[in-house]
Amino acid sequence: MSPSPLAFDIAHMFAGGLVLVSFMMLYQDRLLPLINVLSLHSLLLALSVAWQAHIQDKPDLYVTAVIALGFKSIVIPMALRRMVVRMELHREVEVAVGTGMTMLLGIGLVALSMDLMLRVTAGANALVREDVALALSVVLLGLLMMVTRRNAISQVIGFMSIENGLILGGAGARGMPLVVEISVAFSVLVAFIVIGIFLFRIRERFDTVDLQALDRFRGEHR
């Protein structure tokens, strides 16, 4: 069953939008706007998953969509916002690599993923191919984000965008089982991270490993 061109276009639009939003994330250098972009990201994911559920008529995917919508575009962003406010992080600019550079890299990554995916001349139809190509670029962009950001929270956000990419890919894969379970599992993971930041006040520590600590505690000297 090959879907109608309209369905194709809509799915394509959502997926492409997701990539676009990933780029938006890349050039946010303040935390609060970044978090807003994240919820937008998750929202788009929710929409595209829902759309996939519709065209593949797999009702269980709606669950995933709901999780994405409720949990990832509302609850987590709220939690993160409170955290930022509490830790007085909302002022700081914290990009490790310049934005322009990051954007260039991002474009390169998208090109790479396209190049890789488009040579897949599978029976898997165009929709799947496009979809996975976009998912791949979202994943890579999220990874790039994690690599280029110093702050814990923005790394969480990067991780979540990776996860969104995965869900996108999973949902796009026709009839893939366990997508729901996986999305749930991932939400648990993210929850863990957020709780971790919350409980242990990790702040930027999980970025900078301070060497006194190493000397004092680990018996590992430089």
């Binding site: 029976g123 991780f159 995965l166 366990l178 863990f192 991270i193 990790i202």
Partner: protein
């Protein structure tokens, strides 16, 4: 899932689950420790039962020649570790590093981790296996952080973040494999079952498989601890409770390796794909040599052995990358020997660290004088892990090097170089740890030598004499692996 009346696999899995649930309610840590041991013993029995009777594979679970080896190893080391941890945690309670509450948590997590690993090993479904490995990882993460000291939390974090990224990559790879399969096999669970995937390997989409393998190699390679994804491993080993270090080195790395092997089988079976051998060889050699050099500068005893685990994983991946019946045989043997030896080493290191009250190599001296039995067992363990006869690692490394040498002498020479450097580094530390004037407290140690001796004697026997049945079994598996 509709199972026939009794399946050892189900029993194995249920044992761990039930034990985990039950342990959550046991207050007294002695009883929980005993229960833990008992559960592991039962699990071991069921695992051994698998050699005797194997249920047919369904689309969720399977037991074949390959994973039974892993399962048995898993259950055995799990059992010995539980025995060791029973004697270990008592001391931790006395020193107050752990509270009873955390201890309960620890036991639950231990069984959960065993469950996760068993599930990962028995899963016939790439998605299920992925979930299982994630479960095992999460449980180990919380156990690594259980001391809640600054560095423990930090190690847990490192592990957590890198592990999660690894998980993400692995999942993407999994999805890609499914996509590659879906056209050939059809939608649904069937397209995620090992058995089907292997059967239809030829018809899968090669270019998708390539990309998938890259993601899986990096994703599960993170768990295996291959450089450059290794960063979590040393800290996790060093800062967590020693039983966890033992299980990490002895088992979890193997489980991730097992996943890699499964995917390697599929990808290798497909003619259109890139050669996976060179990729694995590169990563393996890289990790081997990198870890060898890292060993030279270690000052923390547990971290040192963690790096030696990376080194050995490098050797094993190198061997499997070389492939061929001999190479795979060598890899399997090396993996088994390494699990046994390394966990034995961690057992003794745990006692050493407890009695000396430190993990700093500089503060641990003259063990063979202060604690002869413990010291000499450590010496024996290090000799074994360094690949000296009469221990089994000598045989496996001999096979690895010779089988590699027959095909690619230059690579074999590189590997030998790495082994030599690592050997020197280990020996350098051993000299100061085991010999010379004793330093630190001389209080006699209440160690549980049973697990250590069990492992070492197995390794010793393996080095001297391998029963024919075992050999043929390993050869079958090696044949399966291509």
């Amino acid at each position: 899932m509709s199972m026939p009346a009794f399946s050892p696999i189900i029993a194995l899995l249920l044992t761990s689950l039930i034990a985990a649930a039950a342990l959550a309610f046991v207050r007294d840590y002695r009883w929980s420790a005993r229960l833990n041991i008992f559960a592991s013993l039962v699990a071991l029995l069921f695992a051994l039962l698998l050699f005797h009777s194997r249920p047919p594979a369904d689309d969720l679970l399977l037991a074949d020649d390959l994973n039974v080896v892993f399962i048995a190893l898993n259950a055995f080391v799990g059992f010995t570790t539980s025995v060791f941890s029973a004697s270990y945690i008592g001391h931790e309670l006395e020193t107050g590093r752990l509270t009873p509450g955390y201890l309960r948590f620890y036991h639950v997590m231990f069984q959960l981790m065993m469950f996760g690993m068993d599930l990962a090993l028995t899963a016939n479904n790439i998605g299920l296996m992925w979930v299982a490995i994630e479960l095992a990882t999460l449980s180990t993460i919380v156990m690594v952080g259980i001391y809640r000291t600054h560095e423990a939390l930090e190690a847990a974090w490192k592990y957590f973040i890198l592990g999660s990224v690894g998980i993400a990559l692995a999942l993407f790879g999994t999805i890609l494999v499914y996509l590659a399969a879906v056209s050939a096999i059809g939608e649904g669970m069937g397209a995620m079952a090992w058995t089907n995937l292997l059967r239809h390997a030829v018809t899968l989409d090669p270019s998708l498989l390539n990309i998938a393998f890259v993601f899986l190699l990096l994703g599960y390679g993170t768990k295996v601890g291959l450089a450059p994804m290794h960063a979590w491993l040393p800290d996790a080993h060093a800062e967590g409770p020693t039983p966890v270090s033992a299980v990490l080195s002895g088992l979890l790395l193997n489980v991730a390796l097992y996943a890699l092997l499964r995917f390697k089988m599929i990808v290798a079976a497909n003619p259109g794909t890139i050669a996976v051998g060179p990729l694995m060889i590169t990563l393996g050699l890289g990790s081997l040599i990198f870890a060898a050099f890292m060993l030279c500068r270690r000052r923390d005893i547990k971290r040192m052995f963690a790096y030696s685990s990376i080194e050995h994983m490098g050797i094993i991946v190198f061997a499997f990358g070389m492939g061929g019946p001999l190479g795979n045989f060598a890899g399997l043997l090396q993996m088994t020997m390494h699990s046994l030896t390394k966990s034995a080493i961690f057992f003794s290191v745990g006692h050493v660290a407890q009695v000396k009250g430190t993990q700093k190599i500089a503060d641990i001296r003259g063990l063979t004088s202060s604690h002869p039995l413990l010291g000499w067992t450590l010496v024996a363990g290090v000799a074994a892990i360094a690949g000296l006869p009469p221990f089994g690692v000598f045989m496996s490394e001999f096979l690895v090097i010779t089988s590699a040498f027959a095909r690619a002498p230059a690579l074999a020479a590189l590997a030998a170089f790495g082994l030599l450097v690592a050997f020197g580094a280990l020996l350098l530390r051993l000299g100061s740890i085991a010999f010379g004037e004793p330093a630190g407290p001389l209080t006699p140690v209440r160690a549980s030598y049973l697990p250590i001796f069990a492992h070492l004697s197995l390794v010793l026997v393996g080095g001297l004499y391998m029963p024919g049945a075992m050999v043929t079994w390993f050869q079958n598996v090696a044949g399966l692996l291509k």
